[in-house]
Symmetry: C2
Subunit: 420 residues, 2 copies
Amino acid sequence: MDLRTPKGTTDYPPAHALLYEEIVNKTVEIFKVYGAQPIDTPIFELKEILLNKYGEDTKLIYDLKGETCALRYDLTVPFSRYMAMNRLKKIKRYQIGKVFRRDQPSITKGRLREFIQADFDIAGDGLPMVVDAEILSCVHRLLEMYNIGPFVIKISDRRILMAILKVAGVQENDFGTICSTIDKIDKLSKEDLNKEFTSKGLSSKQIEEINRYISYKNEDILEFLKNDKIIEECREAVGDLERLLKYTKIYGCSSIEINLSLARGLEYYTGLIIEAEYIGTAVGSVIGGGRYDNLIDGLSNKDKVPCAGFSVGISRIFSLLSSTKTSETEVFVSCSGGLFLEERMAILNTLWGNKIKAETFYTKRYNLKEHKETCVKKGIKWLVVVGQQEVEKKAVKLIEVEKDQHEEILLEDLVKKINN
Amino acid sequence: MDLRTPKGTTDYPPAHALLYEEIVNKTVEIFKVYGAQPIDTPIFELKEILLNKYGEDTKLIYDLKGETCALRYDLTVPFSRYMAMNRLKKIKRYQIGKVFRRDQPSITKGRLREFIQADFDIAGDGLPMVVDAEILSCVHRLLEMYNIGPFVIKISDRRILMAILKVAGVQENDFGTICSTIDKIDKLSKEDLNKEFTSKGLSSKQIEEINRYISYKNEDILEFLKNDKIIEECREAVGDLERLLKYTKIYGCSSIEINLSLARGLEYYTGLIIEAEYIGTAVGSVIGGGRYDNLIDGLSNKDKVPCAGFSVGISRIFSLLSSTKTSETEVFVSCSGGLFLEERMAILNTLWGNKIKAETFYTKRYNLKEHKETCVKKGIKWLVVVGQQEVEKKAVKLIEVEKDQHEEILLEDLVKKINN
C-alpha cells in the first residue's frame, strides 16, 4: 500500500506542527491588535462561486466528485461570498486556514498544493487610502514580528497597470492575460518574458512601451509618472499613492517601495496591490494582497462593498524559520528500584490537576538513564523519581535535568517547587 | 447566483469563530498538560488508505474528481498512516482539524458534513490498561474543563461485544454489520432495532440473547459477566476492565460507567471503547474513542503498534456553549469637532505598537454617540476622543465606556493608563 501523502501535500511532525502553532498564534495576536474579528468558512464552496475569479489559475481548482463543489483556492473569495450572502457592508475580519491549488509542486520554492494562509481584510466605505494605509501598517508589523530579516513591501496600483496597457495600445480583452505575463517578471528571463508577450499578440513596439514603465526602478517613480503622458490615464491612482505614502509614514512603515511591475495574476484587484518578501530569501513573496472593490458586488449584484486586505503565506513564513522545539513537557515521572505504577499515576494526577505539563512511561521495562536522555532530547526541565525510600516518606527525588542537581522533596511541596 | 455554503456546511461569524478559537485553545492546553505533541496531516489522503476502515460509513467519504484522493473522514486513520509511513512505534500526539462526512446533515443534532475534531492518541507498547486509564483521565479532565454540566463516560470493550455475538451464534462475517446495528441502540426504538437485526438474518432467539447482554444496566456488570457462561469468551477483557477501574480511581475519574450496548460502528477498534456525553443534552456523544491495536499494522504490514485515543467533537461542544463575545478590541479611537485623521493614526500606531487592541472609523462622517454605542455593543472598554483642544495640549479625552467617566490624559501617559 502506498503510504505517502498525496502529491504536493505533506505531514507536519511535532517540531514543525509546534512552529506552525506558534506562527499562527502570533499572527492572530497582531490581527487582534488591529481590532479584527475571526470568521470561518467551509473548506469547499459551490463551484460557481469560484469561477472567473482567478484568471488563468482557475484550472488549478480541485473539484469534488459527484458534487457541485470545489476546494477553496484562497480565503478572499469565500470571504466575499460570506459578505454577499449575509448582505454585510462593514467588517474587519481575519481567517486562517488551508487553501488548495492543483499546481506543479516545488518543495524548494515552498510551493505545495495544500498550504496555510492567514488573511486580514477590511470591508466598508472609507476616506481614500485610510484603510489601505492600515493594511500596509499591519503587513509591516507582521513582517517585523516574524523577525526573519530585512524585508521589502512592494506596492503598486492596478489602475496604473491598466494605464500602462492602455498607453501601449493593448486591447482591453487582453488585459487579464497580459497581466498574467507581467506577473512573471521575477520568474522569467527578459527574453522569455518578451517571447510570451509576442505569443500573446503584442508588437515589439508595444512590448518596449510596457517595459519602459514596468522596469522603471528609481525612487522618484511618482514624479516620473506625473511628467509622462501616462498621467492622463492614472491621475487619481498616482494621487492616491502619494497620499498612501504620507499615511504609512505616520504608521512608521519603512521598507515600502513602489514597483510598477507588480501585477498579481488574480482578476479581482481594482486599486492598491501589495507583495512583500524577505530580502535575499528563496521563497519569494510571503504576503500578497490589495484592494478589490468589485468582488462582493460581482457576487451579489446588490451592494458595492469596497474591500482591501492581504494573505500571509504561513507555509512560506514557516519555511524561513527553523523548528527545534518538539515538546512543551515540563516534568517526566520516572522510578527507581521498582515500577511504582500507582504512585506515579497519583503524582501525575496532581501535576495535571495543576496544569503542569507532565508525562511518564508505560512499559514494564524502565531505565532512569534513558529517561534522563529523553528529558534532554525533548527539553524537559524536571525529572521526578519515585523509589521505595521516597514513597515511605511521602516524597520524591526531583532532578533539575540541565543542572543535574537533585533533591528530596515532599509530595505536598512538589507543585509549588516546580511552579517557582 | 447561489450564495449559500454547500449542503451540510456552515460559516462561523465572529461570535462563533471566537468561541471556537477559545474551545480549541483550551483543549490544546489540556492535551499539552498530558505531554502530547501536535502533528498535522493533509485534508485529503490517497483513497486507498481510507478503504475498509469505517464499515458501512465508507460510502460517506468525499472523493476528489480526477484524483485518487479523498477528503479525510476522521483524524485517526491519517494518524495511523503517518505512523506507518514513518515507521514510528511510539508517540503521544494531538491533532485538531476539520473532517468530512457526506452524511444526511441535521443542524438540530449538531450533525454537519464538515466539522472539527480534536484528537488525542497514545501509540506504543505499555502495561495493560495504563495507557487506557490515561486516555480516560484526559477525557474526564476535558469534560470538566468545558464546564457544561454533569457528564457520563460510557466504556466497554470490543472483545466483550465480540463474545456476546459469539455466544449468540452470530457468524463472524456478520460481526461488522451487527455491530453497526447495536451502535444505533440510542437512536432506534427497541422494535426498529430488532427489525434491523432480523433483516440482517438474526433469529429471534439470537436477538433475545444479544439484548440480554446489551441492555444489562446494573452497576455490578462485571460480576454479572463473571457469573455468566460468556466469561469463557472474555475473561481477559473483563479482567482488564477491572484493572482499568482501579487506575481511573487513582486518576479521580468519577462518572465512568460500563455500558455493554456501546459498539461504535468503526471497524478498527480492538479493546476499550469510549463514548462520553453531557447528561440531558440533545447532541449525544461529544467524545468517542477506544483502542485500535491493529490499524497501523494493517496499513504497513510491518509493525504492530498498539494505540488508544479519542476524538472530541469540537463542533458539538460548541453547540452546547453560548457565544456572546464578538470582539476583543480594547480601545476605539474617535474624534470631536473635526476628523483629526492623522492624529488618530498616530495614536493608533502607538497603541498597536504596545499590543493594545484598538480600532477607529474610516469614513468622513463621524458621530461620537454612535461610536459609544459601538463600544457597548462590541464590549470595548475605552473610547479615546481626539479634539482641537486636546491636540493642542498633546492630550486626548479618555472615556471608560461602562462607567461613562471621562478624563483628559496626556498622549505620553495613554498606554500606561490603559494597561493599568
